[in-house]
Amino acid sequence: MSTPVIVAEGLTKRYGTVLAVDHLSLTLRQGEVFGMLGPNGSGKTTTILMLLGLTDRTEGNVSVLGDDPSRRPLAVKRRVGYLPDSVGFYDELTARENLTYTARLNGLSRREGEQRIDAALAGAGLTAVADRRVGTFSRGMRQRLGLADVLIKRPEITILDEPTAGLDPEAALEFLELIRTLKGQGITVLLSSHLLHQVQAVCDRVGLFSQGRMVLEGSFEVLADRVLGGAYRIIVEAGGDTLTPALTAVPGVRAVRVERPGVYHLDAQVDCRAEVARTLVQRGAALTGLSLVRPTLDEIYARYFQEARA
């Protein structure tokens, strides 16, 4: 395993009597894409702000790239890029002027700054509109400019807060593609979102947030296994008598649900389609369909919060 770049232990933030983040522990390793998943108000943004030293924590320890963000915020912010939730720019300035300001704030020389700005604009696909005022930009363009803004400082870690919120599907896909290129460059990415299928598309590991705590954490398969009782869902279409007992008996199958007569949903730990087919054919059932459905994060999410409420 590669080295951890973000380590948080017992991270807590209290606003008066409200516990926004509750003894959170989190470890990010170099080069991975971690998704923070959770409903609004579950403490994602507060956690991010504490990792950047923009908000002081009430309790706990944090180390970002070996530095404590509350004690050495400048050192941390020099190496960590942050794209805030619904990022804003100076509308009366051009894209290039906005980025120039960022370059100056990072203490870059004029020449170095210009080079990085050109590279960042090209990377975000904004070269053609670099000298247009940001006021004329669409939301998708702003968001990509936000990413270019983050890349100016050549970050080792990039933190993206709800980066695809409010984007149309095409713009969102483009943006996810950009996030993948970050991973390709070896940049560690921490991503927060409530749009699950997008998190699923880019993240190596996911943490499920609820009421200031990370209630589940792991790769997507692990989460599916923990919440849905199996990472695989097999849909069987077969005529004949009720097949539930036979299907339940197949090794690896955890649960069988009759969706409607002749259609069965199987939760399985492994891909046991061959076994299922063999069993059914041996019983003489008329097998007309057999397909594998990977459960989506949406399902995991919905199921988890259903169970949490129950």
């Binding site: 702000l49 915020p73 400048l74 720019f89 704030l105 803004d149």
Partner: protein, 317 residues
């Protein structure tokens, strides 16, 4: 928790950016137009008046700033009125404007402290005002040369520059106040209104209030001179809580070398004094020193207030 790293990191970048914003903004251009028109108008009128009435005066050049001709008020009266307006206009959306544009968290996630953001904005606005004041002063000086043919003496130039410095201090108060309100209130309109309300209170109602309070607390009965003195002292003390009074007194002393006291003077104190002779610059400065210090102190206190509030504010929108 102690923090490492210099709070000045990025100060220069913020200041330059804000300065460029101010100088190119329509808001500032409008205000500049207003100030230049009124100031030049009043200085021109003063020059006309001086040509008509004054034959000889050792400080003719300074009279250019203080002489009024009906219906126009004097140059300094105009300035005293417009400077707070400009300062408020430059400061009222300093912080909440960044909040509303959602640029604040992006800027603060750069390797700088909040100190740099607030101080940079303050310095940029002050530099904008200083630049305009200097241009204005040079224009009026030029006007004096052309219309009156007076060449300002070294002392008059020194007095003029000190007058600019005092005006900058006065502007600093209103700027710091407007910026503090921009931290407190999330809506720029609210902070602008709050700043203007304070200014109106100080400019119009404070004097009235001070007169009333002094009359009630220290009533004068039967022409008792001691009671009268006590009332005057109380009135002066209260009036000097207002930056407008402080500024007016500084200008009075700096631009009128004949002024030798800002409070009540007793006959005994005038013994041996040659009335009407001007004070040297050093003595005038000494006379206005408490007022100048007061202006500076008020600026610092207001800025510190805004600074503390800003440091404690949550970044998230």
């Amino acid at each position: 928790m102690t923090r490492e790293g210099s709070p000045w990191t990025g100060l220069w970048a913020v200041t330059l950016k804000e300065l460029a914003d101010h100088l190119s903004s329509i808001r500032m251009q409008l205000l500049e137009g207003l100030i230049f028109l009124t100031a030049i108008g009043s200085a021109y009128a003063a020059a006309q008046e001086l040509r008509a009435t004054v034959a000889e005066d050792p400080f003719l050049y300074l009279k250019l700033f203080t002489t009024a001709r009906e219906p126009l008020p004097s140059f300094i009266a105009f300035l005293g009125f417009l400077i707070p307006l400009v300062a408020i206009a430059l400061g009222f959306d300093a912080v909440n404007g960044e909040h509303n544009r959602r640029t604040l968290s992006r800027i603060l996630s750069q390797p700088i402290y909040r100190d740099a953001v607030l101080l940079g904005k303050f310095l940029a606005a002050l530099a904008t005002i200083a630049l305009n004041l200097l241009a204005l002063w040079l224009l009026v000086t030029g006007l004096g040369l052309l219309r009156l043919g007076v060449v300002p003496s070294g002392e008059e130039v020194a007095r003029g520059l000190l007058f600019l410095l005092a005006t900058l201090g006065y502007a600093g108060i209103w700027l710091a106040l407007a910026m503090m309100f921009s931290v407190i209130f999330r809506q720029p309109a609210t902070s602008a209104l709050a700043s203007i309300a304070v200014w109106l209170f100080v400019a119009v109602f404070w004097d009235i209030l001070v007169g009333l309070v002094a009359g009630v607390v220290r009533p004068v009965e039967g022409g008792n001179p001691f009671a009268e003195l006590a009332q005057t002292r109380l009135r002066l003390g209260l009036a000097r809580l207002s930056p407008n009074t402080l500024y007016a007194e500084v200008l009075l002393v700096l631009l009128n070398p004949q002024v030798r006291s800002l409070g009540p003077v007793f006959l005994a104190q005038l013994e041996g004094a040659v009335l009407g002779t001007p004070l040297p610059l050093g003595q005038s400065l000494l006379l206005a020193w408490p007022q100048l210090t007061g202006l500076l102190a008020a600026t610092l206190v207001l800025f510190a207030g805004g600074y503390v509030l800003f440091q404690r504010q949550e970044v998230r929108a």
